[in-house]
């Protein structure tokens, strides 16, 4: 695929130009958070930032999403309408770890047998422009331990890499190439640019010193469901959903109905395996009654069940849960500890 060089000061203008034509989600400063928002006229996309507080999964898998609308007739429920299909849009400024999360989510939402039309529609319409991490943005980053890298192109349609004076613009997919006209002023990249990127990739990956045995714990997890170790991890967990809501790969949801007068809607909302109610059955029976079980589920789901089902770790090493956990439950430490278990 094509590679180009773009003068750095031109990027912001290009993104804003795109935003004139179609919705563009970009990292923007919102008080003291950096969040993905649709760029409105006058808003400035953040070009230089560490990473967003919220994961960009919300663009494809919104926190609350309308599934359908219905009305009440004298006879009962009558289906009324579907949400409008998505228009084409651009998701700009995604970090490579987060872009990889889309590939992981695809495995679940776009399976052979059951397809999730809402997610798939958005994935089809959205073009992902990622920004390679020239330096890992956080000390909590650990993408290299979970099959990723600071310059991974997985899940990206275009990737930008800061080469100092210019950005290397890599058009990775046909969807990405469709945006090439916006980069008309960019010049062809030569072999030296590619070499530079290669050097950056190596350098940046090397800067991530914190390693966890992401793949290596799978055989241990296979046989340690009942291990007493699990009793030690979740005591201080307050059972909030911060980790799961900020996680780029957590995808559990709930479906709820709301009505007003004769109008009704069915909405799906993020849910969290950290919440006691997540598995509570009407009968009062709850297969997971303790926070220990819920934590085990979260960890197993990411490092064992997903590997069993899709041969992929459902964690991209973005470090959000590490940094945002209100009580500092550090998944890196837990994975470390698991790797040392005697089983």
């Amino acid at each position: 695929m094509e590679k180009k060089l773009l003068k750095k000061d031109r990027l912001s203008g290009i993104v804003k130009k795109m935003a004139d034509d179609k919705p563009v989600y970009a990292p923007v400063k919102d008080e003291d958070n950096v969040l993905f928002k649709i760029l409105e006229p006058g808003m400035e996309p953040l070009i230089s930032f560490a990473n967003t507080k919220d994961a960009p999964k919300k663009v494809f898998f919104p926190h609350s999403e309308l599934l359908m609308k219905y009305t009440r007739s004298p006879k009962g429920m009558v289906f009324a309408a579907m949400p409008a299909g998505e228009k084409e849009f651009v998701l700009f400024g995604v970090r490579p770890c987060d872009a990889r999360s889309f590939v992981l989510l695809d495995m679940l939402f776009d399976q052979e047998k059951w397809k999730d039309p809402y997610y798939i529609d958005k994935r089809k319409k959205g073009t992902v422009i990622s920004m390679a991490c020239v330096h890992p943005p956080y000390a909590a980053c650990f993408c290299t331990s979970v099959d990723g890298s600071p310059t991974s192109t997985q899940g990206s349609d275009i990737q930008l890499t800061d080469l100092g004076e210019t950005y290397l613009v890599e058009f990775l997919t046909p969807k990405g190439e469709a945006l090439a006209p916006y980069f008309a002023e960019a010049t062809a990249a030569d072999a030296s640019a590619e070499a530079k990127k290669q050097a950056i990739a190596e350098q940046s990956a090397a800067e991530i010193q914190r390693k966890i045995p992401g793949r290596a714990i799978k055989p241990i997890l296979d046989v340690s469901f009942e291990h007493p170790f699990w009793d030690t991890i979740a005591g201080k967990c307050i059972a909030c959903g911060t980790c799961t809501y900020l996680c780029p790969t957590c995808h559990c949801f709930d479906i709820s109905d709301e009505m007003k007068g004769d109008d009704g809607v069915r909405i799906r909302n993020w849910d969290s395996c950290m919440f006691p109610l997540f598995t509570l059955e009407t009968s009062g029976h709850n297969p997971r009654t303790s926070q220990k079980q819920r934590w085990r589920q979260r960890l197993m789901h990411k490092f064992k069940y997903y590997v069993d089902n899709f041969d992929a770790i459902s964690c991209v090493g973005c470090g959000r849960c590490v940094m945002a956990c209100p009580v500092n439950i550090d998944i890196r430490k837990i994975v470390d500890d698991i790797s040392k278990l005697q089983v």
Partner: protein, 339 residues
């Protein structure tokens, strides 16, 4: 503070060794620089993990309630004479002690269930204030050096005074020493600045209703409904929160502006006379919602209307558990005069 920490470890060790407590709930160093995290110490030899410093922001009363109720639940099927009390030692600063008082007022457990290790408090560091001081730069390394923080970021070494990054609730704290304790580890800490306690609220009250509504809307729009505020709050101990009831469903679960506003409003309103301004909900909020702007109003009203402060006195019912014939009723509508 190091002296307090040393005494704390000794005391915890002693309590555990003498089997006077089953567990000591305290703080240990976190895995990120300049953080502390809750820890449960059950063996004397582990007591040296305990720390006491300006990063200990959690209100540990939350865990006291959790531990004691879990213990009680686990023994439900035993005969009363076979049931065992679980005594919880808890590292207790001023706000924590007031939460314990609230639990006791609300008959959640008995005083016998507690061993209160009182610590004098001079406030904790607000992570957001610190991040702002650093211009959002990542803290790579950090240490506490007396009254200052020594921090290394990508752009170099920095020194920041702890007093410049204290949490807002700490700066104006009226109760920075525990109101009840079994043992005090150190001299009482000097007073903070309670005179300014309601300054922010007074200012906000001066705004027009439209301005206040705009602010409320803006803050609530940040909320992602992760419920960390509720989960961290020692006063939020309902077995089933109203927000999770399905018959009737009080609030919708979606990220709807109205549902979020109503959820937050009602959760906060449940704190009348029960919010100790420990700042837990604020410090755990991943999105930085300014909950204190609203919670502190309830605190002020409680004082103005009922002359009470949450969790101040153990032998006094909480404001909404009580009433007086001569309570103020300026808000009662009187058509035809006298309003």
């Amino acid at each position: 503070m190091e002296k307090v920490e040393k005494k704390l470890r000794e005391e915890a060790k002693k309590l555990l060794a003498e089997k006077k407590v089953d567990v000591v709930v305290g703080y240990e160093a976190g895995t990120l620089p300049l953080t502390a995290t809750p820890v449960f110490i059950t063996a004397p030899e582990e007591a040296d993990r305990l720390v006491w410093n300006a990063f200990c922001h959690h209100n540990l009363a939350k865990y006291v309630h959790d531990l004691i109720s879990a213990n009680r639940d686990s023994q439900k099927r035993l005969k009363p004479e076979d049931r065992k009390r679980k005594v919880v030692g808890v590292v207790t600063k001023g706000c924590t002690s007031r939460s314990l008082v609230i639990h006791l007022q609300e008959r959640q457990y008995e005083r016998l269930d507690l061993s209160i290790l009182g610590v004098p408090c001079t406030g904790y560091v607000d992570r957001r204030a610190l991040a702002e001081k650093l211009g959002g730069e990542e803290i790579l390394e950090g240490s506490l050096d007396g009254a200052n923080l020594k921090i290394r970021t990508a752009s170099g070494e920095k020194t920041i005074a702890v007093k410049d990054v204290l949490a807002a609730n700490c700066v104006t704290c009226r109760f920075n020493n525990p109101v009840i304790s079994d043992v005090m580890l150190g001299e009482p800490a000097p007073a903070m600045n309670p005179a300014a306690e309601y300054a922010e609220i007074d200012e906000f009250e001066k705004l027009s209703p439209e301005e206040r509504w705009a602010y409320f809307q803006k803050e609530m729009a940040k909320c992602i409904r992760c419920a960390a505020c509720r989960q961290a709050c020692p006063s939020c101990y309902c077995r089933t929160c109203f927000a999770e009831q399905s018959m009737p469903q009080w609030v919708g679960i979606s990220e709807d502006p109205s549902d979020t506003q109503v959820f937050q409003f009602m959760r906060m309103y449940h704190m009348v006379g029960r919010c100790v301004d420990c700042g837990s909900c604020v410090s755990v909020c991943p999105m930085g919602v300014d909950l204190r702007k609203f919670l502190k109003k309830l605190d002020k009203d409680c004082f103005v209307l009922f002359n009470q402060r949450a969790g101040e006195k153990i032998d006094f019912p909480a404001p909404l558990q009580d009433q007086r014939m001569d309570d103020k009723e300026d808000f009662i509508f009187n058509p035809g005069g006298g309003h």
